[in-house]
Symmetry: C2
Subunit: 216 residues, 2 copies
Amino acid sequence: MAVTAKSEQTRRLLIDTALRLFASQGYEKTTMRAIAAEADVSVGNAYYYFRSKDDLLHELYRSLQDEHRSLALPQIREGHNLGENLLAVLTAGLKTMAPYHGLGVHFLRDAIAPHRSGAAAVGRGKSIAMFRLAVASARPQPPLALRSDLPELLWLVHMGFTFFWVYDRSPGQRRSHRLAANLAPLMAKLVILSRLPVVRNLLEDVIRLLRSARRD
Amino acid sequence: MAVTAKSEQTRRLLIDTALRLFASQGYEKTTMRAIAAEADVSVGNAYYYFRSKDDLLHELYRSLQDEHRSLALPQIREGHNLGENLLAVLTAGLKTMAPYHGLGVHFLRDAIAPHRSGAAAVGRGKSIAMFRLAVASARPQPPLALRSDLPELLWLVHMGFTFFWVYDRSPGQRRSHRLAANLAPLMAKLVILSRLPVVRNLLEDVIRLLRSARRD
């Protein structure tokens, strides 16, 4: 067990050192060699833990996604309305990612890399589960016809939101904060209005379109 | 003038050779050195035309975007309804990009690279102009209140569509073709229904949200 603890310690040390170097000299200019030297770990040993700098970044991104969920889940409350629950999820994400905004574009590139498609599917599933909880706990309950497809729809909107955040260069990403504050109630309003036939009809069209797109 | 023609010829030869090698052995494995050798151009000369393999890919992507517009513009016709015009734009895009689907993920990574933001803004402007024409030529005319913001909204939807295409592994990207065939009339329907207060209200909310997101 001591070995495992030591090993986890070295892993963590490499991630923390990489983060510091990414922040101070940029992702592109940071080499595995420099990370190993700065962490006082041999290059061979560093490569034992991470096959490449990209792998290190990927691990960091994954752990941030877990952190986002840990922060968001306790704030999704039964009795809150859907807008409040959504805002809690978006705000927790902004808070978790804020220190790493400079790496945003690299997270994006990591997420869309073809060899990551397996890992991406796992992350996607966990993220949809978070929106499923936000929907299931919302009071009033979203219309039954929407309840099963809504989490994936919200996840898609969240993807767009993340894209926006990556390219948001306003101080403290205040434009993203404003967008979150506007987007959450708008989605909630859309769901409420879906009780009207014309809106329900449009949403059903969107859901049909998504289902058909998923089908091979 | 002869020099310019020769120079353009070499540039074109390098792009065509790169394309062939990207297709046969993949983007990652193709080096500038291999491209130069295969094109029978000195390595130094190849670097004179393109600073890197990424630059070559970027040029290719740009020329495909121009090709997409050249193919789409004559098919956007006054008197067609909005759905027909949109489908013409989407279909022209699928047709232009089809031979390069294997490079899709690399185009995406190029488009979101931070050092490309200037070039990306130009491409975005040209693309929005294409949707502006699709909106302006549509009969019946979309409601006046929407006309100025609709092109950007359609461009955003098109971005999502492009993302979908990149990850569409169905034979001949038939899922993307089906999505285009469903998406175009749905967007047109949404615009028509925007004459109803409840739908107009929602669309105005979306537009307000986009405007506010753009503001610093």
